[in-house]
């Protein structure tokens, strides 16, 4: 048996080559040189809308040499909330997750700060509205980048013909496509009179009083229009105030003009109400109109999405943003941030908004006048005022400005709609307020 000897020259050459290879290895960019990144995105209900996100992610991944995996997680049956809870408990899962409204705050301790990328994004796209700051920031730390996908305003979607015929209100004239609103007379009093007229005509407004978000959001906006808060920004109980009493009295009158079964409504009920042609108005993003376009075109061509009526303390409309947040346990935070910057480019945002048929709303002030809202039809301009292009209403979320972790409880337990129902069903004002105060005290536990 012969034994091959390694010469000194061979040894030096081999050592030099391996050292060079080791030193240069990180700079050789293979197909997935920058590692892996996984995303849990909200599963869009608009067919084809997910594809726009997928294309944008893939485009970025190819450029940055990152291996990506996208899971589209539905909010049907709160599957996304369950996944968030599971990943937070396991401290493992996706790198980026689409957090709806309250969930960025609810998981604030486990989310990576994105302050470093929010500055440049805001500089490019414009300032974000107050609700986005309220829900997305905690003690100066941005908990996620506002995502346009899934973000929505739940304003009135009115039937042009029925409102004109029964309430004498021309919603197109009040909110003309292409120009600022002329809605000074569009107040809560006008709204109540219109509700009464439409109720008498057999086409009542379809506003739910259940425990799901559509019902809570409308109730929240009307409460805010009266300046009514159950808990203030400092966490003090403010249930027993004149503003709350006024809001309850108003709601009691309004409920009298709504369909009798609104206490059992969920988030699908108002959509069905509009699409079936039974009502003159609902409070919803344009999803009901989009379904009507497919299933009841004669209804869709009479729909007009516009602003909320103003109350004594201002004009408020419910805005529900999503955030793309990075879990603190993510192993590729830099890549995640790079992707979020890419998804927040104006061109990317426009692509996603177009793919959603105008449903998705960017939270940035420079991006509320995209072409898609001017062009969507029928009728042309129906979505023009949907993104609040003239800032004539304050975008807010029900139960704010209470500290978000308390506000989330009031929101999830639908305390506002329950108060309205209790009072409407004959409970005394003071008893209703005492009940609500007790509930809110409970929500303050830490």
């Amino acid at each position: 048996m012969t034994r091959k000897k390694l010469s000194r020259r061979q040894f030096v050459a081999a050592t030099a080559l391996s050292s060079a290879a080791l030193i240069t290895a990180p700079y050789v960019r293979g197909a997935y040189a920058a590692g892996k990144l996984s995303m849990g995105f909200w599963d869009h209900w608009v067919p084809g809308a997910n594809k726009a996100s997928t294309d944008l992610v893939n485009e970025w991944a190819a450029k940055e040499k990152v291996e990506v995996q996208i899971d589209y997680i539905t909010s049907q049956g709160n599957k996304n909330l369950l996944t968030i809870a599971a990943e937070a408990q396991a401290k493992s899962g996706h790198d980026i997750f689409s957090m709806p409204t309250w969930w960025a705050h609810a998981n604030s301790e486990q989310l990576e700060s994105v302050n470093d990328i929010m500055g440049p994004i805001v500089a490019e796209n414009g300032e974000v509205n107050g609700t986005v700051k309220y829900l997305g920031q905690s003690e100066g730390k941005w908990l996620g980048v506002p995502a346009c996908v899934g973000s929505q305003i739940k304003g009135p979607c009115s039937r042009i013909d029925l409102m004109k015929k029964h309430a004498g209100i021309d919603v197109q004239e009040m909110y003309p496509a292409g120009s600022p609103p002329k809605a000074d007379n569009w107040t809560l009093d006008t709204f109540l009179k219109a509700a009464e007229a439409c109720h008498k005509a057999g086409v009542p407004f379809g506003i739910g009083l259940g425990e799901t978000t559509d019902s809570v959001d409308t109730c929240g906006a009307i409460f805010q229009s009266f300046g009514a808060q159950l808990v203030d920004a400092k966490g003090n109980l403010t249930v027993k105030t004149d503003a709350v009493r006024q809001a309850l009295e108003y709601y009691k009158k309004l409920i009298g003009f709504l369909p009798p079964d609104v206490a059992a409504w969920d988030d699908a009920s108002n959509n069905k109400w509009l699409v079936s042609g039974k009502g003159a108005m609902i409070m919803n993003p344009p999803s009901a109109w989009a379904v009507a376009k497919r299933d009841a075109p004669q209804v869709a061509e009479q729909c007009w999405t516009h602003g909320f009526p103003a109350g004594p303390k201002g004009r408020f409309a419910p805005f529900l943003p999503y955030f793309w947040s990075i879990w603190s346990f993510s192993k590729n935070k830099e890549a995640a941030k790079s992707l979020l910057v890419h998804l927040s480019k104006p061109a990317s945002i426009e692509k996603m908004v177009v793919a959603s048929g105008g449903y998705d709303l960017p939270a940035f002030e420079k991006l509320t006048t995209l072409k898609v809202w001017q062009e969507e039809s029928p009728p042309k301009g129906t979505l023009y005022h949907y993104p609040n292009p003239y800032n004539h209403q304050t975008l807010s979320i029900a139960t704010s400005p209470a500290p978000p972790k308390i506000a989330q409880q009031i929101y999830a337990q639908a305390t506002l709609t329950k108060m309205c129902l209790r009072f409407h069903q004959g409970e005394s004002m003071e008893k209703t307020l005492a009940w609500a105060e007790g509930e809110c005290e409970g929500f303050m536990r830490t």
Partner: protein, 312 residues
Amino acid sequence: MADVAFQQGAVSGAARTAKRSSLRRALKRKSSAAFLMTLPLILLIGVLVIYPALYSLHLATLNKSMAKFVGFGNFEFLFKRETFWLVVKQSCIFAISAVIFKALIGFIVAHFVHNVPANKQRKWRGMLLVPWVIPPAMSTLAWLWLFDPSYSAFNYTLSFFGIGPIPWTGDAMWARFSVILVNVWYGAPFFMIMYLAALKSVPEQLYEAAAIDGANWWQRIWYVTLPMMRNIIAITTLFSLIVTFANFDIVRILTAGGPLDHTHIFATWAFRVGIEGSDIPLGASVSLFMVPILAVAAIFILRDVSKRGNEA
């Protein structure tokens, strides 16, 4: 030294042989074989049932932000909440009334099926089991459409008789009735099939003897059928009580706990508080509150069953 070394080897060799033979003996024992065969299931239960149960116990002892141990603090908090006691009351109304009606309907239908000629029984058994074999989440969706607040098929039908519209899910009492009705519809076939099996095991001679003694139809049921079915009735009731107390899907789909929390039961309220309200420790505490109630029920019922077993 050599002797010692030899002896050491002999001792260790003997020990090895003894160990081998005792292992062989242990493996040959029926109980060991049974244990090994059930081991995969035990492991599965350990991972999917015992670990989550212990983990939820751990969660229930933490504060809202899950950063501090609070012992029974969450339970103390719950006991002061009006809504919690409403949920306790409703869970009891829901579970007890649903189990009573399921047992009653199951018992009656089992008798009907028992009296159907043997060659036609299979068809009836199959048809009557349909509600139980359809996943409840799916069948409840169909019920939701039947009860829909604005487009209820029931109300549409009733309108021809000048009745209604009934607020099936919009009024507290009707909503409670609706969720119990769907639970009874779903669970009665289980009672029926269990009772049918029990009826078939009652010896025919007992009925003959009762007939000779002049017992009427009711006396035969009271003195023969029911005593012979007692164990099955007890076990079925216990099993159904546990499952009904822990129900989630029917209430969640049909009413989501509304209106005004009047149909919430433990599981749906735990979900509302824990997942939708992001207060996981409190949600865990709500769901764990069922454990002592069901444990007490299980102890009483199983003790009764084993006592009768010993008497037999």
